[in-house]
């Protein structure tokens, strides 16, 4: 009897336990407030169109390149006082993840790399010997232990939509558009898709693809950073027509835009490429259209190197944007200033860079450039467009109105070139000591190291070489980025002053904790 009851109780208990398991796994009706619905601008992964032309680009920077970037930034850097105890010049210290556009040929990638400056003029690996035109081998100018080749090369990996990873070479930077052009080490590693110049109309829906961190991935293999291509939905707000026809830019409004979206690839609803995001203005993304992307890629591929933009050396503002008193402040008489304001045409120059093409052509602040090669200028975009169409090192004719002359004057200017997109990035802009300036003229970029930092690199205080311009006497002499200059012409760098231009620089350097001497013939300024 007792046994039977025990069995009965056990049976009932087991049944109840099974019920408990079922109840525990069954989602109960939650009394919780439903989670916030996804942002309207965020596109669900399921709704994303197939976009094999959109790739993810991983750009890594080591410690030395970070110093280079620091020097080339707008930071005022005279010396490095301290670094982390674990810091190593060779180790990666930063990784940038951005989107890229695979072009039609299956090996070219156009991307807006935010740290492209650090790779400008980076020496490309030597080309394989060609039987047709064998190049004479260079005379070894220095039997020094050279740093690893990869130490200087751009560390760029392209990841296709299906996760395939391919190395990429940095071909060049297009200063007109700000795009970097890469070439995959393995052709057809990504799916080539036709990049058509699809028409864009105001009101069209646009998907802005850019990689984003995956915040909810439960990594089974431990900690790590995960990314996935995401998309924001936006609408074309307005289209900026190019003065010569076609589209110069178009603006897309989308919620939750951030700098993480710059460099993103813009697709229409059909999954066709329509541009790359190259800037943000409030809630609007500025899109570089496909036609200009193609031209940028073509420019860089033709030269197989970075392509500078034309440089005039002026700052200014469209007259249409100025108030009357601003025109008057530039030396214009009231009557002529009023007429100028009414006409709303031209670019009022506000400053001229010394030794620039504009200065050489005697352009002055207050001058108004009305035409470029007989093309009327009404907006800043017009002026930019026509200068870019002219190209660097080209000659253009401006029609200029001046405050002290009644008649308009033609002014011929031979444009120069700059590799950056901005007025601000110049060697002269940086704080450089006398010794630094001297070396800068030789294509050597350096930053001073204070003793605590220098000791970490196995040396005493000195100048860390962060960049040596290729094909310069310094490069030919064997000077490398990563070297630490301890003395110049026998004097410690802390006391060296170039009062006169020496015939050569004898540099005592430390490389891999080994002392070496490099003699660099002085390069005459061109």
């Amino acid at each position: 009897m007792t046994v039977r009851r025990v069995i009965q109780i056990a049976t009932i208990g087991g049944a109840l336990l099974c019920g408990a398991v079922a109840v525990a796994q069954t989602p109960a009706t939650s009394t919780k407030k439903p989670m916030t619905p996804p942002k309207a601008a965020k596109v669900s992964a399921d709704k994303l169109p197939s976009a094999p032309q959109v790739v993810t680009i991983i750009h890594r920077l080591n410690g030395l390149k970070m110093f280079r970037l620091l020097l080339r930034s707008e930071q005022q850097v005279q010396a490095i006082e301290n670094v982390d105890s674990a810091f190593n010049l060779m180790d990666d210290v930063h990784t940038n993840v951005t989107a890229g556009l695979a072009m039609n040929d299956g090996e070219t990638i156009a991307a807006w790399l935010p740290e492209a400056e650090v790779e400008l003029d980076a020496p490309l690996p030597p080309a394989p010997p060609s039987p047709r035109a064998p190049k004479p081998p260079r005379t070894p100018v220095a039997a020094f232990p050279r740093l690893q080749n990869g130490f200087f090369q751009p560390d760029i990996t392209v990841i296709g939509p299906e996760g395939q990873r391919v190395g990429a070479k940095y071909i060049g930077f297009d200063a007109v558009t700000g795009l970097s052009i890469l070439r995959l080490e393995q052709k057809n590693a990504t799916t080539a898709s036709a990049i058509k110049e699809e028409p864009v109309n105001a009101g069209d829906t646009v998907l802005l693809f850019s990689p984003e961190p995956v915040t909810k991935a439960r990594a089974m293999a431990g900690a790590g950073v995960y990314a996935r291509m995401g998309a924001l939905e936006g609408r074309v707000q307005n289209i900026v027509a190019a003065p010569s026809g076609g589209v110069a830019r178009f603006k897309v409004a989308a919620a939750k835009l951030s700098h993480a979206n710059i460099g993103g690839v813009a697709l229409n609803e059909a999954g066709e490429t329509i541009g790359i995001v190259d800037g943000l203005e409030g809630n609007e993304a500025s899109i570089l259209p496909v036609a200009l992307i193609k031209r940028a890629a073509q420019r860089v591929l033709e030269q197989q190197s970075s392509v500078p933009r034309p440089w005039l050396g002026v700052k200014g503002e469209a007259v249409a944007e100025l108030k009357l008193d601003q025109i008057l402040n530039q030396g214009w008489e009231m009557q002529r200033a009023a007429a100028l304001a009414d006409e709303r045409r031209g670019i009022m120059l506000t400053s001229i860079a010394p030794n620039s093409p504009a200065a050489m052509a005697a352009l002055r602040a207050g001058d108004v450039i009305l035409k470029v090669d007989d093309k009327d200028i009404r907006t800043a975009d017009d002026f930019t467009w026509w200068l870019e169409q002219a190209g660097p090192r080209s000659s253009v004719e401006f029609t200029v109105a001046r405050p002290d002359r009644l008649a308009e004057e033609p002014v011929n200017v031979k444009l120069s070139e700059k590799l950056d997109r901005s007025f601000t990035f110049t060697f002269d802009n940086r704080v450089a000591t006398t010794r630094g300036s001297s070396l800068l003229g030789q294509g050597i970029e350096t930053v001073a190291l204070r003793p605590p930092v220098a000791s970490q690199l196995g040396t005493t205080a000195g100048l860390l070489v962060v960049y040596v311009e290729p094909q310069t006497p310094a490069s030919e002499a064997g000077l490398q980025a990563g070297d630490v200059i301890q003395s110049i012409n026998g004097k410690p760098v802390s006391t060296f002053k170039a009062t006169t231009q020496p015939a050569s620089f004898t540099l005592e350097i430390v490389r891999n904790k080994q002392k070496l001497v490099v003699t660099v013939p002085v390069q005459k300024k061109q």
Binding site: A45, A79, T95
Partner: protein, 244 residues
């Protein structure tokens, strides 16, 4: 009416004891009602019979035996209740097992991720962690804090100053219908982009600079950034449209 009288009279007759006289009203009713008269005669005879019985004296231990019997009766009642009590006890035990089982199963199925970093990220619904500008100025003559971002040490997405890990007590059910399915094996459902594991830099970049004007400052750079989340402002991104 008469029937009602019969009932009242018969109740009175029933309550009479031997030798007790009836009321006047009852006597008058008995004269008129044959049926009640017969009832009265039966009751009278019954009382006479009972009254004719002799008295019986109780045994001396009657009181003790009566109490003992009452006590036994109580014990007997408890004995009969025992099976029910045992079932109740069993029910309580099973219920206890049920509750414990439910708790254990729920904890097993809804255990939170043990990785602190990812667990922290789980509560972060923003698409991209924005590097927070931070420049440690030792002297404030030349501040430029807006162009430098913070470091994130070895784990770039666990930012300093972020709230410590809060392991939220898991709920039995939460509505995730508005969200993407969680990626548990590093792969997305078909038709979408892959989730890519990234080998972010392990070494952070944190340097103290001398700007040549007597100002010293510390710059930290995050180990990873997305898009043009700039760590250092350079010309590429912020090119002015008014410079030619």
């Amino acid at each position: 009416m008469r029937k009602n009288n019969c009932e009242v009279i018969r109740q009175e007759l029933d309550e009479l004891t031997l030798g007790e006289t009836i009321s006047v009203a009852a006597a008058e009713h008995l004269r008129e009602c044959v049926e009640c008269r017969e009832f009265n005669e039966k009751q009278t005879r019954l009382r006479q019979i009972v009254g004719s019985l002799g008295t019986v004296s109780a045994p001396p231990d009657f009181d003790f035996r009566l109490r003992a019997r009452l006590a036994n009766g109580a014990n007997g009642a408890a004995f009969h209740f025992w099976p029910l009590a045992r079932r109740g006890l069993a029910f309580v035990v099973v219920l206890l097992v049920f509750v414990v089982g439910a708790i254990v199963v729920r904890n097993v199925f809804r255990r939170p991720v043990q990785n602190p970093q990812l667990a922290t990220e789980q509560h972060n619904t923003e698409p991209a962690p924005q590097p927070v500008p931070a420049v440690e100025q030792r002297q404030q003559q030349n501040p430029a804090p807006e162009i430098v971002a913070t470091s994130s040490d070895k784990h770039p997405q666990t930012f300093k100053g972020e709230r410590p890990l809060r392991i939220k007590r898991p709920l039995v059910a939460e509505d995730f219908s508005n969200e993407r399915a969680e990626v548990i094996d590093g792969r997305e459902p078909s038709g979408a982009f892959e989730v890519l594991p990234l080998d972010s830099s392990l070494q952070s970049f944190k340097v103290s600079l001398d700007d040549g004007r007597g100002n010293a400052r510390t710059i930290s750079v995050p180990t990873i950034s997305f898009g043009s989340q700039r760590m250092l402002q350079t010309a590429n991104q912020y090119a002015s449209k008014r410079d030619w």
